[in-house]
Subunit: 154 residues, 4 copies
Amino acid sequence: MDAFTPKDPDFVRRTHATFASQDFMAHIGAQLTVVEPGRCEIRLPFRSELTQQDRFFHGGAIGTIADVAAGCSALTLMPPGARVLTVEYKLNLMKPALGDELVARGRVIRPGRTLTVCLSEVFAVTGARETLCATVLATMYCLIGEPGVDPAGG
Amino acid sequence: MDAFTPKDPDFVRRTHATFASQDFMAHIGAQLTVVEPGRCEIRLPFRSELTQQDRFFHGGAIGTIADVAAGCSALTLMPPGARVLTVEYKLNLMKPALGDELVARGRVIRPGRTLTVCLSEVFAVTGARETLCATVLATMYCLIGEPGVDPAGG
Amino acid sequence: MDAFTPKDPDFVRRTHATFASQDFMAHIGAQLTVVEPGRCEIRLPFRSELTQQDRFFHGGAIGTIADVAAGCSALTLMPPGARVLTVEYKLNLMKPALGDELVARGRVIRPGRTLTVCLSEVFAVTGARETLCATVLATMYCLIGEPGVDPAGG
Amino acid sequence: MDAFTPKDPDFVRRTHATFASQDFMAHIGAQLTVVEPGRCEIRLPFRSELTQQDRFFHGGAIGTIADVAAGCSALTLMPPGARVLTVEYKLNLMKPALGDELVARGRVIRPGRTLTVCLSEVFAVTGARETLCATVLATMYCLIGEPGVDPAGG
């Protein structure tokens, strides 16, 4: 069993449950479409409510799904009872996010007991064509215990 | 006239207009409450649609207003006709974002002709008490010309 | 006693000892010049061995002292026996680093039991004049236990 | 000719020349070992002068070669006469960097006229075994013109 083997056999259900409990996901219309060991995919169909001044997807919406894709990826490898919190992420916006929908694909690049490092890529999708428009490098925290305890352990 | 002196006498109106043209701001309920040379403030009242699994403000909502506060701050110092695009930002989530509202305060720490570097702090506000819950370090691009041209200039 | 009060009365000596045990600091000629609760300062005199192609201080040298200033700042607030490891940092290079020396000033913006968030600023110094040339936002890990255990806890 | 085709037929020689003109590379003992369109590799043999308190490679040395690998990768795709400057980078340290040498592999993930986004991975090498110990996500600036002009264009 290596670090990329799920420790929780129920990881798919748990990851979907965590996603579903984030009201902000429903508010923007994001869907969790793939959950695999160390990998997740989130899709965000275009809606004018999600745009910035040029009618592209807003950077905040892009960052949001990239962050959640990273967090869900990390969660797939965490033990039963664990919860995931974002410590930090860095987002590079590389192309205008213009398309029918966005797809964010997150994956774990360094699983760890306390901290997990993930990379997410966000693509704008138009028909069959995907264009890479953003990349995120993120650090996730594995919290075992009470809700509301913050990642910095203060 | 130094680099922190607005080059556009109309910078307040222009910054509000840019903010207002971002539909995502209305969708989450964010308000641009302060616009000064090199500084902006955005407020985001609590709504359950903005939460994550523990009922705190979602990190994506926090990142969004921090990014926009940074971008608006940068825009206040840009010449007439310029538009601002986010190149990248890095967000550290430091405390649970629990409160009546969030306030994001952005400021320019390095104005430049092409690139402007900004720092934003996001506080959770409960009554008169503000708690620092996130910090963003961001790079903004000054675009003079056509809408839709991407920051990487490709 | 708040989170910015040192838990180790011996924090000044300990921070200097940690700095002194990093051979890379001597190799580049860096000096730890200030150690206070939650704050440190590192100075790096100009040497041609530290330059990039334009004879400015190399970004790698800038990042190095900014990272160490952040780490030492975090260490000042950690309990006896703790060691500090860098989880991640983000560096914005804002001006050419040209001068007699660099000074990096780090400070804790969010102390925590496990993770501490720090901000460092690096100035180029020429005579009495200091120019801000770089900013770093960093996450530090408090390790209590064996040397060689990595921050991700793997 | 796509964005990953070198615009300068002399890009290999130019990239080596830029690397060689950075005195800090010689000071730490780094070698530029691979230069391809959009990709570079830098090797850094172990020396005790490069260590931190646990005798691992220092994070500053890791960040330095990751940054330079990213910058050299970006430079391979820039037009004749261009120079490359680092705007910012974000470094995640994921494992202790312990080995005979480090190898940093940088590659362009988004080439652009003005800004280029790169990803670098740093591996610790012991015999035939490589261990991923750090990842960098970086933004590079293409400067056409005078030396000493700063990336922010101020």
